[in-house]
């Protein structure tokens, strides 16, 4: 005990760094978020309830939720595949592909937005082929899914990749030598080991997609009841000085974001416990 106490005194700067950390976080976001929630509580319950249950708003929840779910699911499948291919196989350009996975994280969302709409418009490089099958991507709900898939792409890959890299070859060898064929080994040995990481990546991609604005607004076309996502409604209401309406919907989004953060923290704790 005396040793740990003595050790603790050796390194200086706890008061200073902790003080600055809390002061900065407090000023930049804790106090503003608190004040914002306080502002929402000054509304009457009827005003609040009316603002968050308008038909146009409910339609936007359905789109935001549904498209984020579809996007995250696409990323779950293809992200897992991409992580598998990057960790297990060798092919030319592998390093380049690995580096590119971070693009949605580094490229500004507005740039991604205009790139995606140009690409998937009915005259675009990709959109024209969808057009052949009578499918429209830009300015439809499918376009929203495309944008939300793009924005969530890094998450599943980057959560699954390290777990897959650390997976001991002995497990698979043991499974094989006990008579399991490859498919059984993947299903019964590899998949369970990856499961918490897959779920974490899915939740991260979903959470990111729910709040996304920049990459969606160009490709979605923003038609009320059809392709209007919830963040767009907030911008529209704020621009019309309807602060009550905007704050009410913003509070719903904030609460959902906190809930997702809790879920993700729980999943990460589960991953590290299973993994470590």
């Amino acid at each position: 005990m005396s040793i740990t106490l003595a050790r603790r005194r050796v390194i200086p700067g706890f008061g200073l760094t902790m003080g600055f950390t809390l002061l900065y976080m407090g000023l930049i976001f804790l106090v503003p978020v608190g004040a914002f929630l306080l502002y929402t509580t000054t509304m009457s319950w009827e005003t609040f309830w009316h603002a968050i249950t308008q038909r146009q708003v409910v339609a936007s929840y359905k789109l935001s939720f549904g498209a984020s779910l579809v996007g995250a699911t696409i990323n779950l499948v293809f992200g897992a595949l991409l992580a598998w291919v990057l960790v297990r196989y060798r092919f030319p350009g592998k390093r380049l592909v690995d580096a590119l996975v971070d693009l949605p994280f580094a490229l500004p969302t507005a740039v991604a937005g205009i790139a995606l709409v140009t690409l998937y418009a009915s005259t675009g490089w990709v959109g024209r082929y969808f057009e052949l099958f009578g499918l429209r991507v830009a300015y439809t709900q499918l376009g929203v899914v495309v944008a939300l898939t793009y924005i969530g792409l890094p998450f599943v890959v980057r959560t699954v990749q390290p777990v897959l890299e650390d997976l001991e070859a002995e497990w698979e060898e043991a499974s094989a030598s006990l008579g399991a064929d490859r498919f059984t080994t993947i299903r019964r040995v590899i998949f369970p080991a990856l499961f918490p990481a897959l779920l974490t990546g899915f939740a991260l991609a979903f959470a990111r997609a729910l709040g996304e604005y920049g990459s969606v607004v160009f490709i979605s076309g923003n038609l009320p009841f059809r392709t209007e996502i919830t963040p767009l409604l907030i911008v529209a209401k704020a621009e019309q000085y309807d602060y009550h309406g905007a704050a009410a919907i913003g509070t719903v989004m904030l609460v959902v974001a906190f809930a997702m953060l809790l879920v993700i923290n729980g999943l990460q704790w589960w991953t590290s416990r299973r993994h470590g």
Binding site: V10, I11, F14, T17, M18, F20, T21, Y24, M25, I28, F29, P32, A35, F36, F78, L81, L82, V85, L86, Y89, V97, A99, L100, D102, L103, P104, A106, L107, P108, T109, A110, V111, I114, A115, T118, L119, L153, A176, L178, G179, A180, R182, T185, A207, L210, G211, Y213, G214, P231, I234, V235, A238, Y243, G250, M253, L254, A257, F258, L261, N265
Partner: protein, 306 residues
């Protein structure tokens, strides 16, 4: 040997393991712990198509659009007075935000990695919080606090202070949105490195600052560099939050991403992509630096293992 035979599906050699030659054995062993070549090819191709559709093509379309009309058109778009003023404003904002978030990141990582205190997991989760909040909501929070119809609006107006629809508001929302990036890079790095080296330096008589400069900083150098560059790229590219607080006053409160939006909405596609190519270049530099740091790390680990 018996276990090998159980692993073969045809069981052809079940009774006579002694005559199995090495090549055959290796093949069957591979069949049980690896995928057949055709399946690998299918999986790799599928993954590459996905990467092509969602990453390579968007990137190509920006660069193609930017230079489609030649270098002269690109220069013209980038040197347009509105574009220049957007670039200047963006540079001014990152010059304020990035140093602030760097100091925050280093301070938070130092406090979290070098000391034990109650509530540490809560603090780490709180640092992640801005990342989870929609950029649009971030903008809204400050409009409601400082906007003309907001809580402090009348007081600010009486004192002739402008935060919303002006540069200070943009600085605050970008600082909010990019707050976690450097801290998130440094916290795991410094936790992993522990505190023995710092303790050695301090017991040998070096001061706190000297220890940080000569012991800690060299250890976290690459993580810090990547964190700063990522924070910079995200700060320059922040869109949703800035769209809410900037008011989009041309030549005054338009940042580069907002200028891109204006150009796109006015059907000036070449100019929009030309200005976009600047931020795209920055994004590519960011991921290139990340890759270089990772390769160095890998090489070091391999050397340490050998």
């Amino acid at each position: 040997m018996n276990t090998f035979n159980q692993a073969t599906r045809d069981g052809r050699d079940a009774g006579a393991p002694a005559v199995v030659d090495d090549g055959d054995l290796a093949r069957r062993w591979q069949r049980a712990t690896d995928e057949p070549a055709w399946l690998k090819a299918v999986l790799i191709t599928t993954a590459l198509i996905f990467v092509g559709l969602f990453l390579v093509l968007p990137l190509s379309v920006v660069l193609y659009g930017a230079f489609e009309r030649g270098l002269a058109a690109w220069f013209e778009a980038v040197r347009d007075p509105d574009a220049l003023s957007a670039i200047r404003l963006t540079l001014l904002i990152v010059a304020i935000v990035v140093p602030l978030n760097t100091v925050f990141g280093v301070a938070a990582a130092w406090a979290i990695a070098k000391f034990e205190f109650p509530g540490k997991p809560v603090l780490i989760s709180l640092i992640d919080m801005p990342f989870a909040i929609s950029p649009v909501v971030v903008g809204l929070i400050f409009v409601i606090l400082f906007g003309s119809q907001g809580w402090l609006g009348p007081w600010l107006a009486a004192h002739d202070l402008r935060i919303i629809f002006a540069a200070p508001g943009i600085v605050i929302v970008i600082a909010f949105g990019t707050l976690p990036f450097i801290a998130r890079e440094l916290i795991p790095l410094m936790q992993q490195q522990g505190k023995e080296e710092e303790e050695a330096s301090l017991t040998l008589g070096a001061g706190g600052l000297k220890t940080f400069w000569y012991v800690t900083l060299p250890n976290i150098k690459w993580g810090l560099i990547y964190g700063v560059i990522l924070c910079n790229a995200r700060a320059m590219g922040e869109f949703g939050a800035v769209a809410v607080v900037s008011g989009r006053i041309r030549g005054e409160t338009n940042t580069v991403p907002l200028h891109i939006e204006v150009l796109y909405n006015e059907y000036m596609f070449t100019a929009a992509f030309a200005v976009s190519s600047l931020l795209t270049g920055l994004a590519l530099v960011t991921i290139a630096i990340k890759s270089i740091i990772e390769w160095q790390d890998e090489r070091q680990k391999r050397r340490a293992a050998a």
